[in-house]
């Protein structure tokens, strides 16, 4: 099976009783334009974790354990469930159970605000065979991924997605979602994003004193 077929097989089973969303999809992998070596990032509801693991193993995915992603200094704070990685026929599934990001000291994994966690499941949308984050949750996730996980480095594909989504969603919705993460920095963040000043974002955040 090619990668898309592998995922469709998994999604067909998950869509019945396991809550999940595909994260990012920055490289249009699910449209079939695969980039070699990329993982698929997926978020599974923590309460469905055991069902999910049972299912992937049944479908022949092997558990990679901590190989390739774990660092001994990692800490999963505030009851964040440790991630999993599964592999089948060269395709790697990177599985999270809460929407998380790194803390600014890099090695701690922190869950985003509860309002965002709840919104993921209340507002997820189905496109084709798969569930994705809603537009406002996706933009929050891409921003936190770029700032915290990648320390200010945004991939071009994600910048395009953020710009597209910022024009699509209501400004109030954006601020409602982003404020629990960035607090008083939210306005400055928004202004830097709409002017595509991604290179200034990380330093602006770290040096922000308006609070």
């Amino acid at each position: 099976m090619n990668n898309l077929e592998l995922l469709k097989e998994l999604a067909d089973k998950m869509n019945v009783s396991i809550r999940y969303v595909i994260l990012r999809d920055g490289y249009n992998q699910l449209n079939g334009d695969f980039v070699k070596g990329k993982d698929i990032d997926i978020l599974v509801h923590n309460d469905d974790r055991e069902k999910f693991i049972e299912l992937v193993k049944f479908l022949g995915w092997s558990d990679r354990g901590r190989k390739g992603w774990y660092h001994p200094r990692y800490k999963f704070l505030y009851q964040v469930t440790e991630f999993n990685q599964f592999e089948k026929e060269g395709l790697i599934l990177d599985v999270r159970y809460q929407l998380v990001c790194r803390s600014i000291d890099y090695f701690n994994w922190i869950p985003l605000d509860m309002s965002i966690q709840n919104s993921v499941w209340d507002n997820r949308i189905m496109r084709g065979n798969f569930y994705f984050l809603s537009d406002s949750d996706q933009v929050v996730h891409l921003i936190t991924h770029g700032i915290f996980d990648k320390q200010g480095k945004f991939e071009n594909e994600y910048k395009k997605q953020i710009s597209f989504l910022l024009k699509k969603i209501k400004k109030e919705d954006f601020f409602t979602k982003i404020r629990p993460v960035f607090f008083n920095f939210s306005e400055q963040l928004y202004n830097l994003l709409i002017t595509d000043e991604y290179d200034k974002l990380y330093n602006a955040y770290l040096s922000f004193v308006g609070y």
């Binding site: 803390s103 922190i110 985003l112 993460v181 004193v209």
Partner: protein
């Protein structure tokens, strides 16, 4: 501090779920068996945790709180002592802050640079103290750079060792010593340098074994802060006991 203008929210920590990933820990220590933690939560607030209580401040309010707390804590000592403490490096004062109440007097003294003693190395857990001429800082200034560049300095996170030393040397050349009341500090009747090894080394490099003014901080109970030189034999026995314990109770 104007309590009406100062916004302080006191939270009990049970059940509070943190959501701010942008947290920098500014300070963390145990005080009276409770954890004291100071955090900068970017965009949100400065959090001061003590045990299960949390205080939230804006940056402006926190700086005001800091000034009031500093003034209050120094009021525990005499005005004379406060006059000297206020001029010292706050990081250094923090290191012996739990003994501030025990300070008996602080006074200006004089010492020849060659009589100053500093820590030069740590060998198998034992701190080695020698005269200033053996200081890694002075050796660096004279061209022997290896020890100093490899030394892990703790209190200047945004400067390399070399940058820090260059800065100290330039200040002494341009503004002299002591600049702005920043004296080299010794405790009690010991000549171990407690703060100011860089200044002492720079002065020695520039002017040789001259006599310089220093501050002596004298404590009612000197044994609380005095450096005790451990004999090699005692250090060896300590390490032997540790080794045997590890093997027996592994």
């Amino acid at each position: 501090m104007n309590m009406i203008n100062c916004i302080m929210h006191i939270y009990l920590l049970w059940g509070i779920k943190m959501s701010n990933p942008g947290v920098k820990v500014l300070s963390k220590k145990k005080i009276n068996s409770e954890m004291f933690i100071l955090e900068d939560n970017i965009g949100e607030a400065i959090h001061l945790h003590y045990g299960k209580t949390r205080f939230d401040f804006s940056i402006k309010d926190f700086l005001e709180f800091y000034n009031v707390t500093k003034k209050t804590s120094f009021e525990l000592v005499s005005n004379e002592i406060f006059r000297y403490l206020d001029k010292m490096d706050p990081t250094f004062v923090n290191m012996f802050s739990q003994y501030i109440y025990d300070i008996e007097r602080i006074f200006l003294d004089k010492i020849k640079l060659g009589d100053i003693i500093c820590q030069t190395d740590i060998i198998k857990g034992r701190k080695i103290y020698k005269k200033l001429t053996f200081s890694r800082v002075l050796k660096f200034l004279k061209g022997d750079t290896k020890d100093y560049l490899n030394y892990n300095q703790e209190n200047h996170p945004f400067q390399t060792n070399e940058e820090r030393l260059t800065s100290v040397l330039n200040i002494i050349k341009e503004k002299g010593y002591p600049n702005n009341g920043n004296y080299i500090i010794l405790f009690n009747n010991q000549n171990f340098v407690r703060d100011g090894q860089h200044r002492a080394a720079c002065l020695c490099f520039l002017y040789g074994n001259i006599e310089v003014p220093v501050i002596r901080v004298c404590f009612k109970h000197p044994e609380l802060v005095n450096i005790k030189i451990e004999s090699r034999f005692k250090n060896f026995m300590k390490r032997l006991v540790k080794f045997v314990k590890r093997k027996l109770f592994n």
